[in-house]
Amino acid sequence: MPLAFALSPFIVLGVGALLLMLAESFAKQRAGLALGATIIFLATAACSLGLWWFGVDHIEGLEALSPWLVIDRFSLFFFALLCLGGALASLLAGGYLPEHNLDRGEFYALLLFSTFGAMMLAASGDLLTLFLGLETMSIGAYALTAFRRASPRSAEGALKYFLLGSFAAALMLYGFALLYGATGHTDLAGIASSIAQLAAHTPNPDAPVIAAAARAPMILLALVLVLASLAFKVSAVPFHMWTPDAYEGAPTPATTFMAVVVKGGAFAMLMRLLLTAFHDPQSASWSSGWPPALAMISVLTMTVANLIAGRQESVKRMLAYSSIAHAGYLLVGVVASIRSDDGAGSVLFYLLTYTASTAGAFGALILCGSKGAEAVSYEDLAGIGRRHPAAALPFALFLLSLAGVPPTAGFFGKWFVFRASMDAGLHWLTVLAFLNSVLGAYYYLRVLVFMYMREPAAGAPVATPMRSGYVTAALIASAVLVLILGLAPGKSLDIALAAASELGHS
């Protein structure tokens, strides 16, 4: 019984998703599915927060789950974060789908199942569950991208995402196979101890009969493959090419889901792999390990994404490039975590602020659109500050949060990541990240200029403002979260640091 309590987030989400699917096939009208999905997400988040408060160490029988599932504070934090993102995405879908004639209930079932996969990624302690969670999350995301069946742009984005994502999963499997061959373990803790024994030149009875000279290059090759595949999933440059097309083609609630939940799950997977399996002194060293590669990737990501985002004509594409840039800032925190105690915690806190800000930004963009037509280019947003202030004001708040302006949440997210990387002694990386953050402010402020200081072109159809209770509720929730995190981040930061401290002890 206590074990079922520990698995309750998964059980609630899984059973809820199945019931929603049944309800959707038997229901006569669509109303209420969005609310149902949101309630399921919030119930799952409540279960994980309840487990946190109860103290997950007190539950006996957790050893039976490991190494496949590791339910520690890190997992519980991500459960709550991913379900928050999923709840916001389903609220946005509740408003967007009827407006754009896409109102089919499968959307919510896909959201729930995909979040289940992302939660499994955060709680995995074994290469097999890692891959299982990755594919569950990704296949749902592919289907969500293609949801607008009649649009060729949607199909194009989904095809690009699917092909490149499958390719990345194949690379990852190849890396996993090499890891298993070199270490004889599939659980992350076993891999870590095996690599440490290899570095210490002690004999390892678990490793299969391979010449010791062959094991280190195998592990290095596995690290390269896994790193490339992870960089694809978090959309880091130069593995980011799928992101703008997939984000632009997908219906905006699906884009929100991808930007928030899929990215969160991918970062959970990245941290689980790099900070557990590859955390031994040699693999995590600056001279012969993954930190310099990841630092280079993060610098490239921030710079390239910020430069290209400024040249975009479409607001949705600009937000896609902005989420790529935020992945770059997050990677700075991951690199800092090898030498700084706060590094991993700052990444988790940044993910929380990024979730609230991005979900809100996409939600405000939804409100700027109208029947059947999204607000695509900057000119579509001209003058919205006067025509539709209920959409423009939250949009401004979330854009300022993404740019990192105090007193919003994004400022503290960036501040803690930069402080962690300064503590780690990575001064050059911090300076580059800081300069990129300034560079990034340009395209966020450009939207503000168009919204408040331009008039709509003469003869352009002035759309009736879109009104939706669901989207408004999501915007209010995101705005409250952004303001609370911006004005009083202490408690949330403590939670993030407590969650991150459990990472190396699986």
Partner: protein, 120 residues
């Protein structure tokens, strides 16, 4: 050390030379005849071809094939359980009932959505 790879190198060399022979031998032996409209038509034993060129298939073929694959894989997972039924006991039964329940939900969904209707 290189001797252990000799068979593979031999196979690759033979395959490569055979493929190159077929590819370039065609040109060496005289190449294709010149283009003419009569030679370009599809072969129909002398009669003229008729009918549309592109047949638009209904999507029901794809649906049936995909549903078959999914439920066939479900059956594949049932076979090992059937072989070791007694040893797996009540735990195995519970696990498999859970697995089957998820798939039954999928079947109900597919049924209600009309994907099992062939004539529509």
């Amino acid at each position: 050390m290189i001797a252990t790879y000799a068979p593979i190198i031999l196979i690759i060399t033979i395959a490569f030379s055979l493929a190159s022979l077929f590819f370039f031998g065609h040109r060496l032996l005289g190449g294709a005849a010149k283009f003419s409209p009569g030679r370009m038509e599809p072969f129909e034993s002398g009669s003229e071809s008729s009918g549309a060129r592109h047949v638009k298939l209904s999507v029901k073929f794809y649906l049936t094939a995909i549903l078959f694959v999914v439920f066939d894989i479900e059956v594949v997972f049932l076979y090992p359980w059937a072989v070791r039924f007694k040893e797996l006991g009540w735990t195995g039964m519970g696990t498999m009932v859970g697995f089957l329940a998820v798939l039954v939900v999928g079947l109900v969904y597919v049924w209600k959505k009309g994907a099992l209707e062939w004539e529509s």
